[in-house]
Amino acid sequence: MTDKAEYVELHSASAFSFLEGASQPEGLIRAAVDAQMPAIALLDRNGFYGSARFHSAAKANGVRAHIGAEIAVSDLGERLQPPAWLPHQHVPEPVRLPLLCTSRIGYQNLCQLVTRFKMREQRKCEGSALTTDLAEFSDGLVCLTGGDEGPLASALNNGREEAGRECVERLIEIFGRRNVYVELQRHGNRAEEVRNQAALRIAESLRLPILATNGVRYATQYEREVLDVFTSIRNHVSLDKAGRLLQTNSQRQVRSARAMRRLFGDLPEAIENTLLVSQRLEFELNDLGYEFPRFDTPTGELMESFLRKRVAEGIENRYVPKRDAALHERAKKQAERELALIERLGFAGYFLIVWDIVRFCKDNDILIQGRGSAANSVVCYALEITAIDPVGMDLLFERFLNESRSEWPDVDLDLPSGDKREQAIQYVYQRYGELGAAMTANVITYRGKSAAREVGKALGFDDETLGRLSGLIGHWEWRKKDETLGDNFRHAGFDLGHWRIISGSTPAAWSSVRAASIK
């Protein structure tokens, strides 16, 4: 029996929709907890960048975390823009389709969809999917028609109700009638309500369920200012010049069930459907069903036996020359313990993959060396992944791999820079395929100074003030317990009476500095 006061927000975006969401995933969860929401969905732009932290925070707070993404689709139309007769600076971009994962299959499909269209791009850009991609990877996904960024809003604006109906029919064709929901959002905008009324007529004519969401871009109303600052940064304009790029109002926060029921008092089923959809979304991020990749042994035998043989050979090669029978015996026993654990945890393939890479490098005169806690493993020593004798040095294997910690092994291999390193990378790609291997890269993030500079630019500070502001960020210390941000500004020589300093020193503005410094 569902509690009538309940509502689930099924369309929110975090700051991992870079510069399009103002709140960290933890902030959204906190807001959901404050609103007594049993579950909340995160749909970041073209990826799952915030989902890991979202899931962890949700678990810690007893909230169910639904996972999905807003996918840009280039052949479903262009995103809604202000009319041409109004001055604005919006640039054309594809519509975004909100997709929610109902199952692991859905998550896998959505991952593959994102991978497909990102890898299709020839140059560095966001990328966008095609409807053919959606059709190929539609299984296990629930599709919403979106808010003003969605295809229905675009179709209704450009071609009226008939075009909107065709758009929804196309989505039904791709995802199936059971998996398409007509999304309604109410942010106090007349044009939006006109589209809502058309969407209602379309939903009724096509016998589709309606779903109320708030198109959340920030956790609290206060953070609308953060989103405006992000919008300015994203469009390389100051707030003074951003015009209609900014938010119209502060209505895209996480709303409570009571507030949403009041807003959709004429459409109670739109609220109730959020609970039904939430129940359908069974997938959670701790249920990825991940398996380590398998290693194709050259002899065709099982990975575990192949590994044992290689380790046994390695123990002989390493310890016989040491002419210490006791050490040799200890090493064999240690190897046996480690191999038993490796087999129990199912990590044999991982060790063989690493061994294979090391072997390739050694055969091709590429310097390679394992480091870190892997040096504590005699299996790694035997496989020539590391160069330190852990048995002779009395190193602790459990630092590397421990059953009770439920962690996966992590072996770091150091390679020289330049062509040799590239050779090793290409070998991995060739061996495991373009889609079987990937570079994980560090994303450049804003730190305090650069975030302060960008926020200051958005607020329209001159270069000198920007320099003072960013120069001070790294040096502030909180000297006394009741010291405020205003104190720091005053000590730095800023006039607290100046309106922009007031705006710039609000918690919202400084949370924008922190939010911009996504780690």
Binding site: P87, Q89, G188, E225, L239, G243, R244, G460, W499
Partner: protein
Amino acid sequence: MDKRGGMDANQVGEPLYVCVHVQEFATQALTRMRSELTNLPVVVLVGDPPLEAVCSVNAHARRLGIVAGMTRAELDSFPGVTILRRSGTEESGARAALLEAAGAFTPRVEVQECSDTALVMVLDMTGTTLIFGPALHSVNRIAHALGVLRFVIQLAASTNFNTAVCIARSARKEPVIVPARTEAEHLRHLPISALNPTPEQADTLALWGLRTLGELAALPEVELVVRMGQEGKRLRLLARGEHPHLMVPEELLFTLEEFFTFDAPVELMESLLFALCSMLDQLLARAQNRAFALASVTVKLGLDGGGEHERTIKPALPVMQREVLLKLLHLDLQAHPPPAGVMSIFAHAEPGDRSKVQLGLFAPQLPEPMRLDVTLARIAAVVGEGRVGRATLRDTHNPDSFVMERFVVPTSTPGRDGTKRRAVALRRCRPPVTLSVRHEGCHFVSFFLRGKRYTVCEAYGPWRGSGDWWTPEVWSREEWDVRAVAQTDETLLCVITHDLLGHHWQLAALYD
């Protein structure tokens, strides 16, 4: 001297240098704008009192016996003399005007440094016979162009740069044309001083008994070099009209600026306009040299006691008529008079394209700039600055935010919107009407308007908007689309706004 020598077709490739010698430049720079001083003796003083001295005089003053170096006290013995102070700004403006006019003939113009008070400008007219004709025609056209700027000049043309400079100094009213290979003949009677020798050189040559360039030119080269070094060789070549010169052309900046100072603070509009009239003539003449009109004119009035009063007029289309510009300035200064007497005027103009809009072969050219701009200026004088033009919406969520832009003549007819849309007319209340609203709980149920109480039957909304949170103009409001009925059964369909920061309710619009 052959004054009528020209270049024939065989001499097309010969170099041709035309030297413009502006005597007493400091005086001419001041008097060219003051036509009332043309026939009066004028002297220009430089230096700080009581050490002021004459630096330049016009011909009338020279005839009276006034020379450079005289003190102010000595001038007192010459009655009827107009005394002016030297003005670097006016000289710069005059120099720019000369260069500008010269630039219309050739881009290669060099200004020579002179030890006396003259300004010497040499134009390289090589290869221009096909454009301007023989040398005499070129020279006459140059003389005419500079005459329009009210300069009294001496002109000489030669195939040798330095010959033209030497001869121009002594030329009279008619320009002197020196045919090729006759330079020495033309120079021979000129005094040694025409070459600007150093005092030591002049002493040496005087000791040798040399008085004219012809005598210097006749000296043997080797023996002269032995006694005077390479400088002697140079002087000999100059005297023979054979010294080469590497021309270093001025970089001509096209600026339209004029400057004028008054002797005493001027408060009468007529006096200001009189001065502006001649300044506008100069600006227009210079713009016309480059086939431009004036798109805007900025005048900075230097005020008595310090300070500046700056006004800019910008006609809808670039204008060539002085009367239009003067009228616009008149109207503008009338509406925005200077707060104190005016001591100086600095006028700066921006050039603009002279093309006009024409809508059809048999239709008159529209708009007629004079009437359009004067009409706009007259309207602005009545309704105020910034209230005439075209209302343009601003890029902001704040409703009703617009800015007045300058009226421009549309160059194309606006396209028709093919889609037929049903539109509801909305009559905006400007300014909005403040309402007294009655609430029940969180709903407003009635309001009072123009003596009637209206009961709210239906209210759609709230439609929310807020913005400018980073400025003092932060705003936040809700709008309601309301159907209300009065006690007299009169129905009102309207838009009511609630200012959330100011806490007032207003009737913003009526649905028609």
